[in-house]
Structures are given as C-alpha cells and as structure tokens.
C-alpha cells in the first residue's frame, strides 16, 4: 500500500483563530530539534504563536528573508548578525538559542583519520582543514586553538566542504582534517577517527552556537510580538534542555535519521541567556585574524529581551 510520510506535517495544529502566525527560519540540523519539539509540545501556542519553521539555508538566505519581512525570526550562527551589523542592515539578536558545552564532549570538533598522525591542534599546521563556511566561528576558533597550541595558524589551508560530505572527502584524502558537528563527529570517531580538538570549548567555552535573530524594524513596529516570541523561546529552550529525549525524538521524525544515530548526538546547551562576553571574544577573534575589519557594535546588535 501507499505511505504518506508527510501527512503529519501537512496537518499543522491550527488551534484557535487568535494565534499569530510567524515564520522562523532555521537550518534542518540537529539543534533545531529543540524548536520542533517545543512546537509539538505546544509551548509557542501557549504564547499565542503559530510557528512555521522554514528551512533557510544559512544566514545568507535567512537575513534577506528577515529584511523582506517574509519571515519574522531566524535561528542562526552569531557571525551572520555580526556581518549584517557591520553593513548596517538593521539586524538584532534577541536571545540565545544554543551554546556549546564548556566541558566534556562538545557539539563539534576537528576530526582526522587515525593514520593521519594529527592528534593535537598544532599538528594542523600546513594541513588542509574543511569547515562548512569560511570566515566564521569554525575557522576562527580553530586558528585560535592552533595558535594557543603553539602552531602557526597562517599555514592552514581552509576549504569549504559541507558537513555531510566531510567524511567522504577525508576518506578520499582530499582533506586532512574536518570540522564537523554531530552526527558526523560521532560517526567518524566511532569508525576510528581521531578527535583532534573541540575548538569552541578550548577557545571560548560556552560560545553561543545559535542565536535568535530579528530586525530592528520589527522591534520598533511590533515589540509585543518580539516580546512574545522571546518569552516563548526562553520557555521552550529551558523545557528542551530538560527534555532531551523529546528533542531527540523530534530530530528522528524531522530529519529522518535512525533512532540509534539520534541517540548518539551530543546536544548543546539550550538556553535563551546570551553570553555577551563570549560574543565579544568571538568578534575580537574575527578582527585578530582579519576575517572582519572591525568589531560590530554589540550594543546596537544585541537586544536581549
């Protein structure tokens, strides 16, 4: 017989008519599990919000969509808003979404094949390392980690390889090491790869991974909505942090990955509390390694609710 795997998403819980419809852009990655789960849990509905998650690919699409007013919020890496602020696009960070783990196993890592001989950050000198997107938190923290470990970060050649393809490229010998999150991190390590370093953890512990982004225009025109979203989000994130199993279940259904794989994913710390200090440090790193010309105006950018 026929199946219909899309049936459940097609019948969105429409609830009562008073809900405000909002569209939120978010990558289809494991971290979004918290959002999916919280929506299913009805947390946003409780705050009068009907959230549609739009899978925008990276900040490059999400921020134009924000500016166009097609979506109201976006969940994205902090470097996106930095760049946007430097260009005076009128983007604000309203709250944190997820942060890397200050200790233990972090959410992402630089990994290499066992026979590569790369075991510590300074071994990366002169090697080809992949990141998913150049000139962002990934390569910055890796450079910093290498520098801290006594290596010369300028000799590393960074290339862009999507997270999913990284393992194949590693195996093919096209790259020496790869910066990947879970599930790829766990998979490579499980298959005998070396975990070289958790770059976030060793450079800026607890660095915000993802933040909630909106526009200044929306804050001016509809502060209640931003308020409602922030409150709902804060509640949702606290709830998600406490209910990791629900988050994993949401990952399994939305990303269609096997349950076993989802169980092995290292989840970040879900919290709405912004670590402004860490962001400051990240911006400083950006300036230090010449990725951005100057520091963004964090006072203007960060409108923590």
């Amino acid at each position: 017989g026929c199946t219909d795997t899309g049936a459940d998403t097609a019948t969105e819980p429409s609830g009562s008519g008073e809900l405000t419809k909002i569209r939120v852009a978010s990558l289809p990655i494991a971290e979004t599990g918290a959002l999916w789960a919280a929506i299913d849990e009805g947390i946003f509905e409780d705050h009068g919000l009907d959230v549609e998650v739009v899978p925008a690919q990276g900040g490059a699409q999400a921020i134009p969509a924000l500016l166009s007013g097609d979506i109201q919020f976006a969940v994205g890496q902090p470097f996106g808003p930095f760049r946007a602020d430097l260009q005076d696009l009128g983007v604000v960070v309203v709250s944190n979404y997820a942060s890397s783990l200050p200790e233990g196993k972090d959410v992402n890592a630089v990994v290499a094949l066992a026979d590569s001989g790369i075991t510590r950050p300074s071994d990366l000198e002169g090697k080809t390392v992949s990141v998913n997107s150049l000139g962002a938190a990934g390569d910055l923290t890796i450079m910093k980690a290498v520098q801290d470990d006594g290596g010369d970060p300028a000799t590393i050649e960074f290339v862009e390889v999507g997270f999913p393809e990284a393992q194949a490229q590693l195996d093919a010998g096209n790259i020496d090491a790869a910066w990947v999150p879970d599930p790829f991190m766990s998979k490579i390590v499980a298959e005998g790869g070396t975990l070289v370093v958790h770059p976030y953890q060793v450079t800026i512990p607890g660095l915000p991974l993802l933040v909630n982004i909106a526009t200044q225009k929306l804050m001016d025109s509809d502060p209640e909505l931003v308020e409602a979203y922030s409150t709902a989000m804060a509640e949702a994130l606290d709830w998600a942090d406490a209910n990791q199993e629900a988050v994993r279940a949401a990952i399994v259904t939305n990303m269609e990955i096997p349950e076993a794989a989802a169980a092995g994913i290292t989840l970040p710390k879900f919290t709405a509390e912004l670590d402004v200090d860490a962001l400051e440090q990240l911006a400083a790193l950006g300036v230090e390694f010449g990725v951005i010309e100057s520091k963004p105006d964090l006072d203007r950018l960060i409108k923590q609710q």
């Binding site: 000139g135 960074f158 290339v159 393809e165 490229q169 093919a172």
Partner: protein, 274 residues
C-alpha cells in the same frame, strides 16, 4: 564564350571607417549607459541596502578586484574557464557530430544524456570531488559537464538537418567520410553550432562560479559567495559586474570567431538585406 562582370572596388574612406567605429561604440555603450543612469537615479531616490548606487559598486570594484586579488582569485578562475570552454566546445562538437550522424548511437545515448543533463551540478560536485579530488581538473570537469550541453545539442540537431540535396551531392561524388565532415556536415551545421557555442560561453562562466561555490577556498565564484554570505553587498555586486564584463569580453572573442566561421552565412543574409 566568356561572360564579363565588371568589378568596381570602391575604397572605404578613412572618415567612413571612423564613423563606423563611432557608431558601433554608440550601439555598444548606449543602452548600458542608459540603464546605469536609471539605476543611479533610482538608487539615489530610494536608497536600498541591497541595491547600492553605481558609484558605490564602482568603488567596491576597484577595492576588490584591482590589485593582488586579480592574480590570486580572478586569473586562476579565468584559466579554468578558458580550458573549460575549449574542452566543452571540442567535446560538444566531436561527440555531437558522431551522435548526430550515427543513428543507433543517438538512440543508445539520448536517454542517458538527458538523464545527466537534468541533474543539478551542485549535487554532483561532491561525487566528482570524490573521484577527482579537490583539484583544478575537477572544477574544469564541472564546467565541461554543465557547459557542453548547448554545443552538443545544437551540433546534433545541426548535423541531422543537413540539406538533403547537399548530402546527395556529396554522396554522388563519392566524397570520403573525412571530406564529407570537413566540407559538408560541419559547415552546414555551423550556424547551429555557433548558436550553441555562444550559449556555452556564458554557461561555462556560470559553472565556473558554481564550481567554486562548493568545496573551495579561492576564486571569483568563491569570492562572490563569500561576499554574499557576509552581506558585503556592494562587493557582491562588483563581482557580478566583473562576471558581466568577462561575459562581454567573451562575447567579443566569440563574435570575432563567428565572423570568420560564418562568413559565408552572414554574406548570404547581409547581401540580401541591402
């Protein structure tokens, strides 16, 4: 029994030549200039973040592309582009001629070619990199993979539509296979082939950019994506402008080639337009 045709050669005067150059310059630059002015006016009336003024773009252009970036990012890209174009055209014409002439081959390959033609290159780039590594040849392969289709298809169709009387002429004089190719099939298909080549030039440029948008760390295409992702809007536009300029430059080269290859063809059409 002789017929006599007088040939009066009227020498082109210098001033006429200058007038022609001036006129074609006017034609070449008139509309772009007009559009530029409109853009400039509209961007000064309603300044928009994503549509900066031409001046701002020009500034960004100089800052971004004039200098070392030209050597490190643009030149390698252009070299790959050049190779990609040459290969695409060669492969397209050779394969297209064979496929167009040999019917069973056409029937064997057509579904396969159509299949591959429809696959988005971004999906295949990872596979290509696995097979060929993160090398220049991989990027060139991506360019060829995407840019070969216009020449290929046009060549196949051009070869197939060779005039029947011309074909019979070649047959009746027992022209050899090579002669038939050289003197009948290729020239007869050349208007179609050139239509394809013209498309290939710009498609190759697009694929050069795409090949650098994934699995890359330098090049014109990479830069454009980088600017795009970092909201360096004017810089991004300057990259697009550079692409357009390269396109115009390629079109210039192309029209020189076309003038030579299709001299007879333009001759027919032009004379009758007098």
């Amino acid at each position: 029994m002789t017929l006599y045709t007088s040939t009066v050669v009227v020498p082109r005067t210098r001033s006429r030549a200058w007038k022609r150059v001036g006129e074609s310059m006017l034609f070449a630059l008139g509309l772009p200039f007009l559009l530029l002015v409109i853009w400039g006016i509209s961007s000064s009336i309603a300044p928009a973040q994503f549509f900066p003024s031409p001046l701002r773009i020009a500034q960004a252009f100089v800052n971004t592309w004039v200098g070392p970036a030209f050597v490190t990012d643009v030149l390698p890209s252009l070299a790959r582009l050049g190779l990609g174009i040459v290969l695409s055209v060669l492969v397209g014409i050779v394969a297209g001629t064979v496929i167009g002439l040999v019917r069973w081959l056409r029937e064997l390959l057509e579904p396969l070619l159509e299949f591959f033609r429809a696959i988005p290159p971004p999906v295949l780039i990872p596979v290509f990199t696995l097979l060929m590594g993160l090398t220049d040849s991989m990027k060139i392969f991506v360019i060829v993979f995407g840019a070969v289709w216009p020449v290929l298809l046009n060549t196949i169709e051009g070869v197939r539509s060779t005039d029947s009387v011309m074909k019979e002429t070649a047959q009746s004089f027992s022209l050899t296979r090579a002669e038939r190719l050289r003197f009948l099939v290729l020239p007869a298909a050349s208007p179609r082939i050139m239509a394809g080549v013209r498309q290939t030039f710009s498609v190759a440029l697009i694929l050069m950019v795409i090949s650098e948008m994934f699995v890359s760390s330098s090049g014109l295409g990479y830069k454009i994506t980088y600017f795009q992702r970092n909201y360096l809007i004017a810089e991004m536009w300057s990259g697009i402008v550079l692409l357009g300029l390269i396109g115009v430059f390629l079109a210039l080269i192309f029209s020189v080639i076309e003038k030579r290859v299709l001299r007879w063809y333009h001759g027919i059409k032009e004379v009758e337009r007098a």
